[in-house]
């Protein structure tokens, strides 16, 4: 059985020009071996506005690692790498915020900062969970 769900996260990343807003809306599907394929849209002005994004979410007991690739409006390729580290001491905060870094593909970091899951999105997030049967 595979699983699918949708997730939205937003934040402000510090870039050389100052803090820039970032958001993504992703659909995760799969789950075999704790790995989900990610596909959706990402906005990170001025680098990319509503760009298609694809990648992978790897879930283990100690961390949830996001790796996304997207094309910038300048034609360059970028990657967003982020990680949640679940903690029993701060279960809500550790599952709703993550440190994110945007890099040029195989290049230097261009921005980093915190992204958050807005708890007002929780009903939509829970409603998005679907089991998928079959191969």
């Amino acid at each position: 059985m595979a699983i699918a769900f949708a997730e939205t996260m937003r934040g402000w990343l510090r870039a050389p020009e100052g803090e820039q807003p970032i958001s993504f809306e992703l659909r995760a599907s799969g789950g075999a071996g704790g790995r989900f394929a990610l596909a959706g849209r990402l906005s990170f002005p001025p680098f990319a506005l509503d760009a298609p994004a694809r990648g992978e979410l790897a879930i283990s007991p100690r961390r949830l690692a996001y790796a996304l690739a997207f094309a910038g409006d300048d034609g360059r390729r970028y990657r967003l790498l982020a990680e949640k580290r679940p903690s029993l001491l701060a279960p809500v905060r550790s599952m709703t915020s993550m440190w994110a870094v945007v890099r040029e593909l195989d290049g230097p970091a261009v921005a980093e900062g915190e992204m958050r899951f807005d708890l007002r999105d929780l009903p939509a997030f829970l409603a998005s969970w679907l089991p998928r049967f079959g191969r």
């Binding site: 906005s43 002005p45 509503d50």
Partner: protein
């Protein structure tokens, strides 16, 4: 986030206020009822879409607490390339002016003749210390939902009731102005310059405020957009209130409102000499705005209050604007204008303009 309606929003009134919500009047209708203690203005702006040049026109009524009422016309030409500002005010007795009646009055005052109808005409001439100037313009609304009338103050009671003492409406947030302006060194063609028209009134000018407005053309597949907002504080029983802010952003058919004036925990603002920054959070998301006019032609306007005190308005129509939006629905985006922002900073002290004679 809202989808813009096709008419002035019928927003709920604040029923807890100790007075009934008054009937909503047409955005440009005259509010002056002939009594002392009133200020009222209609103003227009047009920005050259390609170069740092802008025109600002204004017609005002000043009814002092004692003495006869006055009518004034204001003309300011901002030229960032020549680093030049041409500003002039003409004052006449109110009895020599005509402000018309009805929903779309025709304003005839101090050399200006301006129709406030949605497709209107603005003509005028003036003799100033810098020479003679004139203008003849048509004003037409932008064909876009962002051009629908805008009220930053939510609720009829706030827009028409006694508090706050000064009101603002924007009957035409996005317009196209066409025609010409004649300056002492020759005519300037105004070929469909983007602009707007506003309407303010009250028992006095607000105690202190920053106000800004900017239009953003379609770009890169993104729809046209506009923003308007303010940070202000008033005096209640002789004490200054905290700064209160509101911001409305329209982008295509969407409207994002950050207008919970008393939600001080979710607003940060800084009103400087030539800069205004604002960060707001609300149900529609999070917004960060920065408007700056440093190093650009800025007019110092002397706004007389009905009690005789002078307020100083630092007025630039060439401000740099950067707005970052993190909407609750949809992706993050940024709007930027190099020199298209209207930025007004009003205070009771001359501040940076000490020694400068206000227009």
């Amino acid at each position: 986030m809202l989808t813009l309606p096709k008419a002035m929003p019928a927003l709920p009134s604040m029923r807890l206020l100790p007075f009934p919500a008054p009937a909503q009047r047409a955005p440009n209708a005259l509010r002056y009822e002939g009594r002392p203690g009133h200020v009222e203005s209609w103003f227009w702006r047009a920005n050259d879409p390609d170069r740092p040049r802008a025109l600002w026109l204004k017609v005002t009524i000043l009814a002092p607490l004692s003495g006869p009422a006055l009518a004034e016309s204001w003309f300011v030409w901002f030229d960032g390339e020549k680093r030049r500002l041409l500003g002039h005010r003409t004052t006449v007795p109110f009895s020599e002016a005509s402000f018309g009646a009805g929903a779309e009055p025709r304003l005839l005052a101090a050399g200006f003749d301006i129709e406030t109808s949605p497709i209107g005409r603005a003509r005028g001439a003036l003799r100033a210390s810098f020479g003679e100037a004139a203008f003849d313009l048509s004003v037409a609304p932008e064909r876009s939902p962002i051009a629908e009338p805008l009220a930053l103050l939510r609720g009829k009671a706030l827009r028409e009731g006694p508090f706050p003492r000064s009101k603002l409406l924007t009957p035409l947030p996005a317009a196209r102005l066409s025609g010409s302006v004649t300056l002492p060194d020759g005519p300037v063609a105004i070929d469909g310059w983007p602009g707007m028209q506003g309407h303010n009134w009250g028992r006095e000018h607000a105690f202190e405020y920053a106000w800004g407005q900017c239009l953003f053309p379609r770009a890169g597949g993104a729809p046209e957009a506009m923003l308007e907002g303010f940070t202000g504080r008033v005096c209640v029983a002789g004490r200054r209130t905290p700064w209160m802010s509101a911001l409305v952003v329209r982008r295509g058919e969407e409207e994002l409102r950050f207008d919970r004036l008393l939600d001080f925990w979710r607003q940060r603002s800084e009103v400087g000499g030539e800069r205004w920054t604002l960060a707001l959070r609300g149900p529609d998301g999070e917004a960060r705005l920065r408007m700056e006019a440093a190093g650009r032609p800025t007019a110092c306007l002397g706004y007389r209050n009905p009690d005789g005190r002078l307020s100083y308005c630092f007025n630039s129509k060439l401000a740099e604007v950067r707005l970052q939006l993190q909407p609750r629905r949809g992706g993050a985006f940024e709007l930027y204008s190099e020199h298209g922002g209207a930025l007004e900073l009003l205070r009771r002290e001359p501040g940076p303009a000490a020694g400068i004679e206000p227009i």
